[in-house]
Structure formats: C-alpha cells, structure tokens
C-alpha cells in the first residue's frame, strides 16, 4: 500500500481474544464456515481413532495411537487458528469502534415539551428519545442522538468523532452528531433519527461480524470454497473407496490429513477477518460505511466525480495581484479592495486584506473613516461591498492583526483626508455583475478580465461609486498531495471528473494543473445527478462525494456515494458512506481501500489453492507406501515417512496465523494499472503459493526429524 493509507494497528493477542477464540471452537458457531466445520469434524474422527483404533480396523493401523493424537492435535490447532483470526479481527473492529460505543452510553437529556404558550423540560434517558423530539442542550451536555439545530448558536466539540480538536460552530439548520459535546452556549435541537438508526449504531452493527451480512463478493468466494470442498471430498472418498476395494491399505488418518491439507483452510479461516478488517481500516480513516458491499463497489469505480472545492483545492482562493484599469493605479485598486474586504470574513476576503497589507495598500486615516453599511455577499448579485459614510466610530480594533495594520498606515495615501468626504460605495464581485452596474465600463474592462480568466484564474472586479477601478486576481489553492493522488487513480484506470461551478477557463486551468482531463464547468449541484446518470448509462461505476441537499439525488444513484458529515441529513441518508471528518478528498482513499479489500481476498484464495500442489507431493507418496512403494518416486522433497504428513499438516495450520497480518492490513500495493496489479499479484501469490509450501514443509520436516 502506498503511504496514503496508514498501516493498521491490529488488535493485540490478549486474554479475552483467546477466550473468545476458544468459545468459537464450538461446532455450532463453526457452521457458518463450512471449511472449518469439516476440519473440526475430521478432528473428531481422528480423535476417535486415537481413543479406539480398533473401531477403525480396516483403515487404521493399530498401535499408532501417538500418531493419531499428533494429527488430531494439529487439526484442532488449525481450527483454533481460524477462530483466533476471527476473534482478533472482531477485537480490532471493536477497538476502533470502541470510542463510539462509549459515546453511545446512555445520557440523560433535557427533553422539551412544548405546549401552546409554555414549554417544560423533562429529563429523559437518551434511549427513550425518538425522531422528532425536541431537546435542550446546554454548555457541557452531550448530544444524545443525531439531531438538527433548531434554535441557538453554540460551539460543539466533535473531536471524539472526527478527530478535529477545534470546536465547531453550530447554528440553526446544522447537524449534530450523537456523542458530540456542547462547549458553549445553548441549543434547542430536534432529534433527526430514531436511536437505532444513528451512525454509531450502524457502525457497531457493521463491525459485529455475526450480524454482518456477507457481501456479494464474499458470497461468491464462499461458493468457490464450497465447490473446492466438494471436489476434495469426492477425491478423498474415492481414494478411501479405492484403498478398500483395491486393498491399498491407506490409513484413514493419513487420508484425513490429505483432505484437510487440500481443503482451502487458509482462505476459509481468514475470509471473515479480511472483510471485517477492511471495514475497520475504513473506519480508521473516520469513514463510516453503511454496508460492506459499498466498500467493495468502491474498488470497482470507473469514474470518480470530484468536487473542485474541498477536494482538489482547499476551498478558497487567494488574491495574488491587483490589476488597475486604465487611469487607475494599483494602489487605488488595492486600497479599495482593502476597504471592501474589511468586514468580509471569507477566506478570499482575508486573502485580499493580506495582499493589500503586504503591498502596503492600506488606506490612510483608516480609523477615522466612517462605515455606514456592509453588503454581504449575495448569490443573486454575486457581489459584496461596503458603504462608508461619516460616522466617526468606524472600525474598532478587532484583533491583533488589524491592530498591526493600523500602525502601518502610509502617510501618502490617496484616500481623502477630508472629514467632509462624500459617501464611498465600494463593490467587488463577479466581473459580469459589476459590469452590469457600471455607468460606462472602462475600455479595457473585458480585456483585463479575460486575460485573468484565460490564465485560469478568477478575476474579481472592484468598483467605487459606480466606476470600475480594476481587477483582483484570485487563484485557487491546491490541496497538498492532491496531484499525486489523482495521478494514482488515473494509473489504476479510474477516470477522475472534476465538477466545479467555475467558468470553463478556470476549470480547465485547475484541471490541467492537477492532471485531470475531464471537467464539468459551471456545474450546479443538481447537475451531478445528470452526470452520474450519463456515466452509468455507459455501464460505468461512479463514485462521488456530496454534502448539500441538492446532492442527495446524485448520491442516491451513484454506486459509491460518500457524504460529508458536515452536510445535510438528506445527503447522508442518500449516501452509502459518511466521512466524519468531512474531507471530500477521501473519496480517493475509499476507492483504494475497496481495491485493497478485493485484492486481499483474491490473494489469500489464490495462495491457498496454489499451496495444494506441494501438499500432494508431500502426502501422496506416503498414503499407499505399504502397498505401492514405487510412488516414493513422487517424494521429491525426500520427507520422512512419518513426518511427511505431520509437516504438511503443520504447515497448513501455521500458514493461517502467518497470514493474519496480511488479512488484517491488506495486500500492499502501489497504484498501477489493473493488468499490472493482476499479473504482479498472480505471480506473487500464485507462483509464491506453489513454491513457499515446498520450502516450508521441508523446513518443518527437517525440524521434526531433528527432534
């Protein structure tokens, strides 16, 4: 695996795991795992042979009790290794979800009962709350269940869920996750789900393997395993039949040893753990999958729809230059920009202030300028601005940075120093909106705006009292490492498509910068639905992220929909995964994890089957050694008569714990094409699967004969 996905710490082998693994040895609990069930059945048969060899007279050489005991023990250990891996995987899943479980502990909440003119607060246990109930949350309270803010603004600590340490501001309409804690102020919230539907519960259901339904791919692999088990059962029964009818004198225990060696015990033992740990790994990335199926589907993604903002860029643009129109100076543009952004708290606004400050374009007499009105950004006009009147209390010191700026006022500022100066109205915003409001746009307006746009950057026009001064050049800021990630998924044959509200030239520039060939500019959230459908019509598997209500239809039809936890309830319900950290770039990790899960399952299956070749060569020469000594020629490993069977069986058992780490952390891989992954893994686990047991069995044989 590349560095993007951190290695998983798997659960330690502790007392409770061991106890759990021993409890799982009960034949009843093994019923869901046919391979291991049969292995245990074989243990009982050989154990019976050890106790009462006479009962198996024609197929048991009496007097070899010790041998039967050895074989029986190894068989039992084989089964135990399997239950141990199950127990470990489940322990791991429980550990990672442990924090959630703690959060789920019952809390007493203040349920609000509203009547006509009054409302009462009733202390209610969280598990008695239901969807639609109102709850009052005060400083220090824990959010009982996922809910929506109705009234109030407060800071909420979500660190236990998202890992983000800074408290988050929550206002009406925002979503609260069950388990987060109010750290200031008071909120009235409405419970948005029934207690059993909360994400925590979904997550806990997912990790409890007993309740986890098999994914389609797991089902298919299980069918292969049952098929192979059927084939090997036929083989062993036929060998037994031939041994009896032809008088070949095979010992039942040796046949059973061959049987168990041939059975796909390795993958049979590890299959549940592989699926479970895949989901655990996803959870360690703070992503909650609603089903295992969604994780596998992610591995199949042909197309990933990436929102530009938040995924490719950090979500804001930074001002990098002031370009004046003819007749104005850079300073005029810069100072106007500064003033217009003084109350603009968006990252873009802040970057404008910073640029002005760095360039020294801070208006003179800033503290004496009166402010009369602030126009917040409006989606309709796509502009924002300020109107500065005569009021003297303009601008109080608001923080250290602004204080510093004030001290740096330049004395040769152009701005009026007259108290009687007229109202100043500065508007900044989308060039076409600004242009529309101008009385006579400067001749070079379009040329300057287009030049900026042509470079793929965003022009923001600025006007003062109806005259355009110039343009602020804004540039998108790429997320660190995003270029490499996109290159990675492209290498794996997945098509990234960038969705952005930007105009085409800007979109093209960003796309080009990170290596994306396809982008949809000027897209509205509703367009995602059409894009998903268009791709699906061509039978492609589409993965996407979404947060807003507008995204919900697209999330619902997309094969893999990753919703942001910060997003709306509708989006989260429509998606099949939710990222608790609300980091859209993680869609790429989800795809890689899905691939890793499938790869691991295939690798262990292939390895398990390929192992059988060597086991034949170990055991076949021995089975009929009494009557057909010539088959000794197949004993290419030169194993001892007795130790051959034991060596093969021991190897067969030891492979399971040796592969537990692989099952838990997944097959490592570097992003590369489907075919090269296929060939590389086919070589490593196929050829390796043939060669390794020859070496392993021989080593065990040497060890056994040394003892």
């Amino acid at each position: 695996m590349n560095n993007d996905i951190p290695r998983t710490q798997y659960a330690a082998l502790n007392g409770s795991v061991v106890v759990d693994s021993i409890l799982r040895l009960s034949p009843v609990s093994l019923l869901s795992n046919p391979v291991m069930f049969i292995t245990e059945l074989m243990f009982f048969i050989v154990a019976a042979m050890a106790i009462y060899p006479q009962g198996f007279a024609p197929a048991a050489s009496v007097g070899e009790r010790a041998y039967y005991v050895e074989i029986a023990s190894i068989l039992l250990i084989t089964v135990w290794f399997s239950t141990l891996s199950d127990a470990l995987a489940e322990q791991q899943a429980k550990n990672t979800a442990g924090s959630l479980r703690k959060l789920k502990t019952k809390v007493i909440s203040k349920k609000v009962l509203r009547e006509a003119f009054s409302s009462t607060v009733v202390p209610t246990s969280s598990d008695e709350l239901s969807k639609g109930d109102l709850v009052l949350l005060e400083d220090g309270d824990v959010v009982p269940i996922d809910s929506e803010v109705l009234e109030g603004i407060a800071m909420v600590d979500e660190s236990l869920l998202t890992g983000e340490s800074a408290p988050v501001r929550k206002a009406p309409g925002d979503v609260l996750i069950g388990g987060s804690r109010i750290v200031s102020d008071t909120l009235t919230v409405r419970i948005s789900v029934n207690p059993e539907e909360g994400y925590i519960n979904q997550m806990i259901r997912m990790v409890e393997s007993s309740k986890r339904p098999k994914t389609p791919n797991e089902q298919a692999v299980t069918i292969v395993l049952i098929g192979l088990t059927g084939i090997f059962t036929i083989i062993i029964l036929a060998l037994l039949g031939l041994s009896v009818t032809l008088g070949l004198g095979a010992d039942l225990s040796v046949l059973i040893a061959l049987y168990v060696c041939l059975l796909p015990t390795t993958i049979g033992a590890l299959l549940p753990a592989i699926g479970l740990s895949g989901i655990s790994r996803l959870y360690q990335r703070k992503i909650v999958a609603k089903s295992g199926r969604a994780v596998e589907t992610a591995g199949d993604a042909d197309v990933v729809l990436l929102d530009k903002t938040g995924t490719i860029t950090v979500g804001n643009r930074a001002a990098i230059e002031f370009i004046p129109f003819e007749g104005y100076s850079e300073r005029q543009v810069g100072e106007a920009a500064f003033l217009s952004s003084w109350y603009d708290d968006t990252p873009e606004g802040r970057s404008i202030i910073a640029l002005s400050y760095n360039k020294g374009f801070v208006p003179k007499n800033l503290n004496s300028l009166p402010l009369s009105e602030v126009f917040e950004f409006s989606a309709v006009t796509r502009t924002s601005g300020v109107k500065i009147g005569r009021a003297q209390e303009f601008m109080l010191p608001k923080g250290r940075s602004r204080g510093r700026m004030r001290r740096k006022f330049s004395s040769d500022s152009v701005a009026s120093d007259d108290d009687q100066s007229p109202d100043l109205e500065i508007i900044k915003g989308a060039p076409d909106s600004i242009k529309r409001a101008l009385i006579s746009p400067p001749q070079d307006f379009d040329a300057v705006v287009d030049a900026v746009a042509a470079a793929g950057e965003t022009p923001m026009a600025i006007s003062q009292n109806g005259e355009a001064l110039g343009v602020i050049r804004l540039k998108d800021v790429l997320k660190p490492g995003i270029k490499e990630k996109i290159q990675g998924i492209k290498t794996m044959g997945i098509r990234p498509v960038m969705i952005t509200g930007d105009q085409p030239l800007t979109a093209k520039s960003i796309a080009g910068e990170v290596g994306i060939d396809e982008y949809v500019p000027r897209a509205k959230p509703e367009d995602k639905f059409a894009i998903v459908q268009k791709e699906q019509a061509q039978s492609r598997v589409v993965a996407m992220i979404g947060d807003g209500t507008n995204d919900a239809p697209a999330l619902a039809v997309a094969d893999v929909g990753l919703a942001m936890n910060s997003g709306t309830e509708a989006a989260k319900e429509a998606a099949n995964m939710v990222d608790l950290e609300s980091n859209p770039a993680k869609i790429i990790d989800v795809v890689l994890l899905g691939k890793q899960l499938l790869m691991t399952r295939g690798a262990v299956t292939t390895f398990s089957i390929a192992n059988d070749v060597a086991k034949y060569f170990a055991i076949m020469p021995v089975i009929f050694s009494a009557t057909v000594p010539q088959l000794e020629a197949l004993n290419i490993l030169h194993l001892g008569l007795h130790s051959a069977v034991l060596s093969a069986l021991i190897f067969n058992a030891l492979v399971i714990p040796m592969l537990i780490p692989l099952a838990m952390r997944g097959v490592r891989f570097r992003p590369s094409g489907t075919m090269s992954l296929f060939l590389r893994n086919a070589f490593v686990y196929g050829i390796g699967g043939i060669v390794v047991p020859f070496i392993g069995i021989k080593l065990i044989d040497i060890l056994l004969s040394a003892i």
Binding site: I234, I235, G241, T245, G602, T605, M620, I623, M675, G686
Partner: protein
C-alpha cells in the same frame, strides 16, 4: 523424443488446423448469423421446406431454457430412433451379413455414446452392425451430435455477446449446422478418403480366395462417409472395432494426416468463431492460445519417451504417428484411435488423460469452447480478484450465481469419473471382465470413465466392456457428462443477456499475459482434482517400469 522432421510435421499440422480455422471461421459465423451467402440459392428453399414441414418458426427466438430443452429433446428422440434401428436391425433392410439386433444395454450404451459425441464403442462394428445401423444409427447420430455441439457453443457465445437479446433458435441453428457446415465439409472429405482407399459401398462383404488358397472375407461397407463425420465431428466412433488402425478406415500416412487435421479443424475454428461472434476478435486469443498451449504441454509429455513400433500398432504409423494421434484424439476428445491404447507408453496415456480431464485443448466441437470459457470465468474470478476489482469477464461482473454455475459444471467431471470408478471395483464389475487391481487394471477402468465423462470415446476395453454394468454406468456417465455441463453453461450465458457491461478498465482477458495465467490455473485445477488417481494409474505404471506400453 521426436526428431526434427517429426516435430516439423506436428507444427505443420497444427499450423494448418489453425490457419484453416481462421479461414473457415467467418463462414461459420455467417451461417449462424444468417448472413447472405452463395449457398442460399440452393439451401434456402430446402431449409424453409424443412422448417415448414416440422413446424418450426425460424423467426422465433429462444431463451436458454428453451434452447437447451429443444436440444435435449431432439437428441433424445434421435437416440430413440437409433435405438429402434439397432434393436431391430435383424429385421430391417441393408443387412447383407444378417446381423441380429443388439442387446438392450448395449443399445442404450451405443445410442447415448454416439449421440453425446462420445463414441465409446462396446461393440465391433464390422461383426455387429448392419449397413443400415452403420448409416442410420451411427453416422446419423454422429452428424446430429456434432451439430448439437456446434449449436450449443453458438448459443452460448450469443448469450455472452454484448447487446444480444436471446440465444437464437435451436432448430434453425441445428438445420444450418448440418446443411451448411457438416455435410459440405464431410462430402469433400469423404470423397478424398475414398480416393485414398477408404471403401464406400453397400455391396456386402467380399469373400475371396487368397493366393495361398484360403478363404478371406473383405469387410467393406459405407466407411468413407462415416470416417469423414467421425473425424470432422470429433465423434471418433469407427466403422471397425479397431477404429482408424483398421486399414480400410485409415489406409496410409496421407489419410492419417488428413484424419488428424480434420479432428482439429472445427474445434480450432470455433476458437476464431468465438472472437468474431463476440465482436471482439482479440478474445480468440485466450481460448485459442490457451487451448494450444495446453495441447503443447500434452504433446511434450507424450513425446518425452520415444514411441516405438509394437504389437499394438500399425506398421504404416509406427511409434510416432500412433503416439501423436493418441494425444490429438484426446485433446479434441474425438476418441478414434490408430493404435491400441495398451501399446502406448504410460506417459502417452498420461497425456491422453490430461486432454480428457481438461476437455478444452481445444476440446470437442462446441464443448471444448464452452469449457474453456468456464475455466476463464473461474480464473477471472479467483485470480482476477487480485486486480482489485470485482471480477469481470467480457465486461460483465461475475456474480455468485455465475460462480455457482461454473463450479457446478467443473464439479461434475470428478464426480462422474470417480464415483463409477470406485463402483466398478466395489461391485466386482471390473474383476468380472478380468481387470486387475494393479496400476494397469486401474488405468483401464479410470480411463473408461474418464473417456465417457469427457465424451471422448477412446478406451482400453472395447467390446470387453459389453456387460450390463459397464454399458449402463458409462451410458449414464456419458449422458451427464454431456448435458449437465451444457445446461449449466447455457444457463450462465443466458443469465448474462441484458446484463450491464462495463466498457473498460477491467481485467484484459484478451492478452497473452492473461492467457498464461489461464493456462496455469487450468493446469493447477485439473492436477489438484485428479493427481492422486493419475498417480495410481499411468504415473505408477511408469514408475513400475511398464515403458513398452500398458498392455
């Protein structure tokens, strides 16, 4: 080992089969796509007449169940007709030698054997069957079983083809297989065989006084017409008990080469048909190269020892051509022989087993292709998972039901080989006909059921196995070995119809790299399944030093 000239012959014959298959494939595709062709002028009216007479609507299309059921029922009625002829040949015309009817169990075995494209022969034709039986029971079923194989494969490929809506119409495919592919090819081949010395007469056996004055019966009959379809149709059931070792069936090296070529022709052609019909020519690669790579492995095993002329061979074919034939006849599961199996080195027999256990090297007509796709699906599923995507073949995702179908189809083979093999010993049926409990006897019993299950037809036992046990058991095995996998694989193909296909980025199955993995997987699967039994049979024989044949 073989010398350079012999190796050159092998390469030339295989090359000729591949080249001819490539030439013939577009025509075959045209036949099933009902594309206009030069023969339409003569054959359209004839075929339309047939459809009208039998009441089949050529415009009607079938789903997989209807298609399979039609094939199965037509085959069963054909078996019934042939059974009637065999049972009552004594009272029917064209019986100059006055042979009497066959026993019920031999009749059952024979009709199932020929109709399933197996041609396991528990009788010696020249001393058992009338001319009518040879023509209207044996040759008849040889045509129809080959046609059924072609139909099944074509329907199978139709289902797998992206955008297809149905499996086609069995009756139309069946009639066109016969009128446009089998009869034209067989007619030309039969005349060449006659020219090379294969008799074709209804005049009855000729009795002559030899030079030394003894009386000799020359067993002539309608042989050439049978030899052509038995080889082209990968049937393998000979006119004579000695099959193509009998000089009238295979008079000289030229006829031998032609017969080897003919049995390779259609199975190889179907590999090309596969890619063409799918609309993905490159998909021919894994099935063709995969089949021939496995075939090459078989040949290498067989040619490790130097086969030398012995009492189970014919002088004109000597060791090399006898061993070569034995490998080819099992590689395409034809089952005709030009020497006795008992005369073959154990490694040649091992190689023959491999052909029958794999069944797609390139395998029998139609069946071979279907098995190769079955292996491809298994390989794509198990090994393909390691590419990090839900396994896809030809763009469709492999679901659990698909896995269930292919695993079942694969599981049938060991089941129907091993269970009756054990039964043959457990019931004493093997010892009744004098088969030992040593490696030689075991090889013969295992071979009998392997050949029956693979619908191959070559055997050690021949008329020795004309006992109720072997007649019935191999009859059942042949029936299951033919129709169970056919039904399961048609079900797979039928379920693919209308399924979403992803257009790109999946596993590229049309590459040499995938082909190599496919070959490796097939070898492992087959070796894992049958290794212990091969070890007790030909491998043990080899270690025991039976290098001059297993006899």
């Amino acid at each position: 080992m073989i010398d350079a000239i012999q190796a050159a012959y092998v390469v030339a014959i295989l090359g000729a089969a591949i080249f001819s298959g490539w030439l013939l494939a577009p025509y075959v595709v045209g036949v099933y796509n009902r594309s206009p062709g030069r023969l339409d002028r003569f054959l359209d009216p004839l075929e339309n007449l047939i459809y009208r007479v039998v009441g089949a609507d050529p415009a009607h299309t079938m789903d997989w169940k209807q298609y399979f059921l039609a094939a199965l029922l037509v085959n069963i009625v054909q078996m019934a007709i042939a059974a009637f002829i065999l049972l009552f040949q004594g009272s029917l015309p064209l019986n100059p030698q006055g042979f009497s009817g066959l026993s019920w169990d031999l009749t059952f075995n024979t009709v199932v054997s020929i109709a399933t494209n197996t041609n396991l022969q528990h009788y010696n034709g020249e001393t058992t069957l009338s001319y009518l039986s040879q023509m209207s029971a044996i040759q008849f079923l040889q045509f129809t079983s080959a046609a059924t194989g072609l139909c099944a494969a074509v329907a199978f490929v139709r289902g797998l083809t992206n955008g297809s809506r149905d499996m086609g119409n069995f009756y139309v495919d069946f009639v066109r297989s016969i009128t446009r592919i089998l009869i034209p090819l067989c007619f030309v081949a039969a005349l060449v065989f006659v020219a090379l010395g294969v008799p074709q007469t209804l005049g009855g056996y000729v009795t002559v006084k030899t030079i030394e004055g003894a009386s000799q019966t020359i067993l002539v009959g309608p042989v050439a017409s049978l030899v052509s379809i038995m080889q082209i149709g990968t049937n393998g059931g000979g006119y004579y008990g000695a099959n193509s070792a009998y000089p009238f069936q295979n008079p000289n090296p030229q006829s031998d080469i032609l017969e080897i070529f003919l049995m390779l022709l259609l199975p190889t052609t179907l590999c090309f048909v596969y890619g063409l019909m799918l609309g993905k020519k490159r998909e021919t690669r894994p099935v063709l190269f995969g089949a021939y790579a496995l075939f090459a492995i078989d040949l290498i095993i067989a040619f490790i020892p130097t086969s030398t002329l012995n009492s189970g061979m014919e002088v004109r074919f000597a060791g090399f051509w006898s061993a070569f034939w034995t490998v080819v006849t099992t590689a395409v599961t034809t089952g005709s022989v030009n020497s006795t199996l008992a005369s073959q080195h154990p490694l040649v027999v091992l190689s023959a087993f491999m052909g029958m256990l794999i069944q797609s090297t390139p395998g029998g007509i139609g069946a071979g292709l279907m098995y190769m796709v079955m292996y491809a699906v298994i390989t794509v599923f198990i090994v393909g998972l390691m590419s990090g995507r839900t396994p896809e073949y030809l763009g469709f995702k492999i679901r659990s039901r698909d896995v269930l179908l292919v695993m079942s189809a694969f599981l049938i083979h060991p089941l129907i080989i091993l269970v009756p093999t054990v039964l043959a010993y457990a019931t004493g049926a093997a010892s009744t006909i004098g088969l030992g409990t040593n490696s030689l006897g075991f090889t013969q019993v295992l071979y009998e059921f392997t050949s029956a299950a693979a619908n191959n037809g070559s055997d050690f036992l021949g008329s020795m196995a004309d006992t109720p046990f072997f007649n019935v058991s191999t009859g059942v095995v042949m029936f299951l070995g033919r129709y169970a996998p056919m039904g399961l694989l048609l079900a797979l193909s039928g379920s693919v119809i209308g399924r979403k296909r992803s257009p790109e980025s999946g596993l590229k199955t049309d590459t040499i790299a995938f082909t190599a993995v496919l070959v490796g997987s097939i070898m492992i699967l087959v070796v894992l399944t049958f290794f212990p039994f091969l070890a007790l049979g030909p491998i043990l024989s080899y270690f025991q030093g039976n290098v001059n044949g297993l006899g």
